[in-house]
Subunit: 345 residues, 4 copies
Amino acid sequence: MALFLSDNVTGACPEVMDAVVAANSGAVLSYGDDAISSSLQVRLAEVFETEVKVFLTVTGTASNALALSALTPPYGKIYCHELAHINTDECAAPELFTGGAKLVPIRGENGKISAHSLAASISGHGNVHNAQPAAVSITQSTEAGTVYQLDEIAAITETAREHGLKVHMDGARFTNGLVALDASPAQMTWQAGVDVLSFGGTKNGCLAAEAIVFFDPGLAQDFAYLHKRSGQLLSKMRFIAAQLQAYLHDGVWLRNARQANAMAARLSAGLAALPGIELAYPTQSNEVFVHLPATVLDGLQAEGIAVNGDELDCSAERFVAAWNTSTADVDRLLAAIARYCANTA
Amino acid sequence: MALFLSDNVTGACPEVMDAVVAANSGAVLSYGDDAISSSLQVRLAEVFETEVKVFLTVTGTASNALALSALTPPYGKIYCHELAHINTDECAAPELFTGGAKLVPIRGENGKISAHSLAASISGHGNVHNAQPAAVSITQSTEAGTVYQLDEIAAITETAREHGLKVHMDGARFTNGLVALDASPAQMTWQAGVDVLSFGGTKNGCLAAEAIVFFDPGLAQDFAYLHKRSGQLLSKMRFIAAQLQAYLHDGVWLRNARQANAMAARLSAGLAALPGIELAYPTQSNEVFVHLPATVLDGLQAEGIAVNGDELDCSAERFVAAWNTSTADVDRLLAAIARYCANTA
Amino acid sequence: MALFLSDNVTGACPEVMDAVVAANSGAVLSYGDDAISSSLQVRLAEVFETEVKVFLTVTGTASNALALSALTPPYGKIYCHELAHINTDECAAPELFTGGAKLVPIRGENGKISAHSLAASISGHGNVHNAQPAAVSITQSTEAGTVYQLDEIAAITETAREHGLKVHMDGARFTNGLVALDASPAQMTWQAGVDVLSFGGTKNGCLAAEAIVFFDPGLAQDFAYLHKRSGQLLSKMRFIAAQLQAYLHDGVWLRNARQANAMAARLSAGLAALPGIELAYPTQSNEVFVHLPATVLDGLQAEGIAVNGDELDCSAERFVAAWNTSTADVDRLLAAIARYCANTA
Amino acid sequence: MALFLSDNVTGACPEVMDAVVAANSGAVLSYGDDAISSSLQVRLAEVFETEVKVFLTVTGTASNALALSALTPPYGKIYCHELAHINTDECAAPELFTGGAKLVPIRGENGKISAHSLAASISGHGNVHNAQPAAVSITQSTEAGTVYQLDEIAAITETAREHGLKVHMDGARFTNGLVALDASPAQMTWQAGVDVLSFGGTKNGCLAAEAIVFFDPGLAQDFAYLHKRSGQLLSKMRFIAAQLQAYLHDGVWLRNARQANAMAARLSAGLAALPGIELAYPTQSNEVFVHLPATVLDGLQAEGIAVNGDELDCSAERFVAAWNTSTADVDRLLAAIARYCANTA
């Protein structure tokens, strides 16, 4: 059973799938010069309450690596949490797309960097022997399932600006963070100092749809060439745009994320109530990290419930709730864990 | 009207779209570890009558650039026709993915290179000052809408082997070439000496589905890392695999290509019969290249019929038939062109 | 006997070697922050009669590839003669240092491109599918031993500007071209529209000393990082700067080039006077390209006189005169060739 | 006064300079096909008591980055101390030359990693989402002026082998480490498990001469192309080879390093004896790291004695002794520091 292994084990939500089917009519210009793609640009400007330049991709890895390539020279440094997806889970895609920029990992509790730890890491500006400080990337919600508060983001981006860094946000789980904060998309991004966002749709109800959103159009001036060069400019782009159109329509994206977060909260609370079970990080979005006794793990495995070892912390397990996780799903999992906990005791 | 501008202005054929919808159920392992993806590997081995290693992408550019990156060191030379898509239409993606390999353009009639012109171009082997001969790439059907005969392919690959080159086939329109030759997939690829194929589905009835097919598994040994690094490893890969499954089922791919080729033949014959109209290349698959008088072009434009200037030959226009082009579509276009030809005369 | 194989088979001229020895005293700041290096910058500004930004390297390959990396994005196109050193003899170094830019070879007589052939080659500006026209590189004197006239250079650079291209000059044999034209360094470079020059010293009397000379300081803004990143920022840079100081002092560079050119002219005239011997290109600088009968080649080989096959033209041989080639050297070679010619007749 | 700022502020030792002058005679084959270059290969095989493949460069940055490019795929991970020169002082050259490999910094006392800390850092083998463990690089003597013991090296390389990693040694100050250990070159390299060595000559008495030494010829199979492509294949290579020939002749290299180490030891002992002065790291080769009160720093500056802030530790200063540092030099420095220490007290 793949449930809870990740939010990408799910399919697409009905509205998104319907939109893909609906987009399949007529002959339209390719490579994004179609009506659906154009109107998505308008829609995202509305959603973010500012002018944006948008490029679509089909993976978060492509979005992140491409976005970073607009922010750094090949001899630049990109600061990020040591557990950032770009640093640990993209098989050196950022290095490829940036032409060899250097990721500088920063330690920090609960998957977060701070303005202070960022400032302490920045060095070498103007020294020809050093790769040059160029950008910082933060993940919202984080790889630990936690959420940066608006003032934390603002403090980081202020430090970034003081040191001449551009700011990228990896929003593979953007909406989970957004509804957790109950903030507006504008507040959590450009109003807090973010220059470029990897806006993820795939994990939260799309088939494969990600958007790179530039809040500073100047940064995107030549980006179309980088985008094409990366192999992410789909000829039938309407099918990607249609997903995000439906996703952003009528609150589907927010509904999906709220459901996932609520189920994670339910799971988290249920786990915390079990004897001998300890959470690894506070649960703030749709991911739950927990230390489970070996007997519990063995029991779950015997039942065919796959469990994802936490890449951050070898002694913790990760459970991810998705847009379609149900109360019953959570309760079944809790019951199974409880059963093996009891056996342990 | 986007019709005839390219075969990528179309949507997906019904069988493919149905398969995408059908794939949207249940939670399955991500990144291609699902049942649909696994069975596609088996299906492609059947189709090509040999063991294959398959990696999926969503664009031809990604397929080509990635495939080439498995065939050349960064200091290698890749020989290709000067009008090859990899040389003219991929915004230096092959250079990016290969780490800086050099494309060596070869001239040749009707969009084809020959064993002879290839042999005459190869130089520098073992000379440390020269980029090293590493691979040759041919396109089937070609960028000129022509089709390599089996013996032409075999002669090229034999020359390649003599010089230690690996062989890539850009099969963005593979099936159009295949049905034109009435050959088997095996005959047109590995039996003729091809090492790696970019097998295209998008232009012939898929939404966005391409496969990199390795006939020599040894070449694919570490390819999974290159694939992931390129941002082409989709988390919900089942949706790409499902397209190709349906595409290859029950002859859908062959039916689609036959329809496109037949409509191109009809268009080509109709054009050739018009006074003062000359074809730029022989029509052998689903693309028609033709020299049109300016008055005809102006007339078509006035009617809102978009026409694609041939990138190969500035004085020629390109019309592409697709899986869903109808006799009526062709006849309407012919009638319009005939109308303006008459005006000219 | 390596004589005539290339001008790089020679050592350093006495003034240059003396300067290296003289530079070996005291402890000075490293990485070019020493007095010799500083004064070289001043000296080059005098020589070129304008403000320049200068970076030193030890090979022409590094100079060229680095200079180009300041002129093109990684998705750019660099136009050059098909026989340009950057295209044929640098093992894809330009592709490495530019991050994957594409060299576009242009054909042309006598090793030269023309404004016309350049204009005819430029395409794709603003089309996201095409690598973007970014730069043109010309070699002075050329790989065929010919020399661009000032008006030819100006016409090429004017075409370049019209299409938004930057202009690089590969001056591995800059001084040989300069004295051939009897022009000033300013006239042959920035006054004729050149943006960046690879100024070669090694072939004309230095041990290993090349300078990248920017006439537009804006292009060099961040170049120090590219320079360091390439491994060309020597710690004891004074030893490279000292070579070029001595080279440019008191006309040493001009004297050396004049000697080489004169000896090539003597050789060329002598060859042309022999029965059945035909020059492959007009001799305009210090390289002579000639078609020699097989019996002559065999005879020379038997005498231990190494002969360099012309990389441009498989049926021609190349003889290169250097700063220290003597009349006696030339006459001995001519006598030997005459001997075997006579045998042939 | 540049003295003590680094060992690269010095010139060349007499034997090396004499050899450069002596190499300047006659016309010889270029690009390393000369007698001096050939005999250097033989000499290095003698020095290391095994078959070696050697490639020369002119900077440590080029040596390191190139050597690493032979050990890792572009999606590989290179483990190193967080203060390794390759990580902090080469402006992303390793990332350039490897095509985007990822340096993974490891913390450790006194500038050293350990077999244990290395083992703890290695992860992701076979996981397609992770850059792949490929190599480890250690610096001997280290960036902190300390020296790995033979058993420490052996333990690290054993761990490396267990995890399939290749081993690189950055020997910019190889000889300083060698004489500190009183080991043989073989013992400190291949016998201890090192695959490739950056063998530095520049800091210890050469003008600009570094050698990449492969102990496993298989790793160097195609290295000549990488070497050429990097712009480090000098045409007049004899001048680099001649330096290393003289350097390795008659113990010059060992004598130079012993002098440097002895002077560092004298300085270190003198500093330790001063009131209120504390060493930052144990002095084991030719570098001394020390915490100096601000008044001392101000005093030295007022006297025109430049002091290098330690890049490793912002509160420490670095003094480097070189092959030509004299007892008088050391004593003068010590006296100056003592003077300002006294003022402080």
